[in-house]
């Protein structure tokens, strides 16, 4: 692997950039691996990287039906934060945040993790109560999160409309300064390059047809479009397609896949310094380094694998953004797109072992998977390597849907009286 640095860039610039080498090889599958990871997004590639780096397991393949990083990793609005309510969630996302902070240096790939602060707007007394609860819980968990008055929120984000006459007036905000954004593609590429450098095979355009199980019920490998690949351990990290892949191993999942839409504006000079989320009006916004306003929407109401999504939701999202930030009314939408998010009944992830020996799953991140990438990848690698969960992902079991020990962030936030 060519080490990236200002010096290597300069040296290559002087030789016309002819000497850069492929950041990862486009591998063909071997007959057998110690671990096969299904899904070459940030989560899957990251898990391969940590398997190699921290557990010495390098005979690993990451396979994907398309191109690496082509799913939700490359389609999300790149918000990173950890100010979740429940201890279990806060710990997992804060673990991810710790890894985000050093990820560029760790991977020798600038993922542009930008600590610009994520501000969540409270629009009702109920929101205020809910956010205060978050802030108090975060404080005792050692997670950064603080309360801002409307005036303080406006100072932090000048385009914000804090008029008390707004349909949903801003009654305050919760701010996590340590939170921010990162360059989504670079996360997939950085993990891919670093994993490949440690011997991991990345096999693209190779759809998994089925997970094969032996007579004892344990995993034997995966049947793919490029033939059978033997593996004692298989980890599924396939986001919206998880149900379909797991079904082939005889495991039915508590998941539903929904379209999630996002959009960007035309690029403009820096105007928006942070990330703002408003759950009440369902809109999320930041400004990319390129200058585009990046805006996230909610999910459409019906399950779908079409990656399309409808117009009414987008109209509502844009209206919400213009209501909270009226100066953007004359900005123009440049592009909108859809992803497929897999959602669990309690809106928290499933990350751990399954009833099938040798089969592991990482799914159900809903609309929040990108921010968890390093944390999910790191704990998934641990779980696969040791065949037992890391303490951080231990609560995120599949069994919780049997026992009722749910981690229901949505229920805790969204009930209005």
């Amino acid at each position: 692997m060519t080490h990236f640095s200002a010096m290597s860039l300069l040296k290559n610039a002087l030789t016309g950039h002819k000497n850069w080498r492929a950041q990862w090889p486009d591998s063909q599958p071997k007959a057998e691996y110690d671990v096969v990871i299904v899904g070459a997004g940030g989560h899957g590639l990251g898990a391969a990287y940590y398997l190699a780096k921290e557990h010495g397991i390098t005979n690993v393949a990451v396979i994907d039906k398309g191109w690496l990083g082509g799913g939700n990793t490359g389609r999300n609005t790149t918000i990173i934060r950890s100010n979740y309510l429940y201890d279990e969630s806060a710990r997992l996302y804060d673990h991810a945040l710790d890894l985000w902070e050093n990820l560029s240096q760790d991977l020798n790939y600038n993922v542009m993790y930008s600590k610009r602060g994520v501000m969540m707007l409270a629009h009702s007394v109920h929101d205020v109560q809910s956010f205060q609860r978050h802030i108090h819980a975060n404080r005792l968990n050692g997670v950064d999160n603080r309360w801002l008055t409307p005036a303080e929120a406006k100072k932090f984000c000048p385009p914000l409309n804090i008029s008390p006459d707004a349909r949903y007036p801003v009654m305050g905000a919760a701010l996590q300064m340590r939170a921010g954004t990162a360059r989504h593609d670079a996360v997939a590429w950085g993990y891919a390059r670093a994993a490949a450098a440690r011997g991991v095979d990345i096999i693209q355009n190779c759809p998994v047809i089925a997970i094969r199980r032996g007579a004892d019920g344990a995993v034997e490998g995966v049947d793919t479009a490029k033939g059978f690949i033997r593996a004692k351990k298989v980890a599924v990290s396939a986001a919206g397609n998880t149900s379909v892949v797991m079904e082939s191993a005889g495991v039915r999942m508590p998941l539903e896949s929904y379209p999630l839409q996002a959009l960007v504006s035309e690029p403009v000079k820096p105007i928006f310094p942070c990330v703002v989320m408003s759950n009440t009006v369902h809109a999320y916004i930041s400004q990319s380094d390129k200058g585009e306003l990046v805006i996230g929407s909610g999910t459409d109401q019906y399950t779908s694998y079409s990656q399309r999504g409808g117009l009414p939701l987008i109209e509502h999202t844009v209206a919400a953004i213009c209501e909270v930030f009226p100066i953007f009314n004359r900005m123009r939408m440049l592009r909108k797109w859809g992803g497929i998010v897999d959602v669990t009944p309690d809106r928290s992830a499933i990350l751990g072992k399954t009833p099938v020996p040798g089969l592991y799953v990482n799914c159900g991140w809903g609309t929040g998977g990108f921010k968890a990438t390093p944390g999910a990848a790191h704990t998934l690698a641990w779980t696969v390597a040791k065949d037992e969960p890391h303490p951080i992902n231990a609560p995120f079991t599949l069994e919780r849907f049997t026992t009722g020990r749910l981690i229901d962030e949505a229920a805790a936030a969204a009930v209005a009286h």
Binding site: M253, P254, E256, S304
Partner: protein
């Protein structure tokens, strides 16, 4: 925006007039107390999440009725809709 046929109104109307209501043909057990925790979990949470033909429920907000639909989740195209309580249709027939 999808167009959806309400089998009660026999009218095809835009999606805005409908609310999605989850997977169809999951009957609430007659005697839930007789179920194991696993069986009850399956009823509560386990979903087919089909990639392709999906049997699902919608509610027509206009007339208030819940009904069933078969929809292709890859193209989002409705294959057919039918009244609640009716069995899964033979889709070959519906296509004709």
């Amino acid at each position: 925006m999808l167009l959806i046929n309400c089998p009660y109104c026999e009218e095809t109307l835009p999606e805005l007039e409908f609310a999605y209501a989850g997977e169809a043909h999951i009957d609430r057990p007659a005697d839930p107390s007789a179920l194991t925790d696993e069986e009850w979990r399956d009823f509560l949470f386990i979903r087919t999440n089909a990639r392709g033909t999906h049997f699902e429920r919608w509610r027509h907000i206009g007339c208030g009725r819940f009904f069933n639909a078969a929809r292709d989740t890859v193209s989002d195209r409705f294959l057919t809709t039918y009244k609640a309580g009716q069995p899964r249709p033979d889709l070959k027939e519906a296509a004709e």
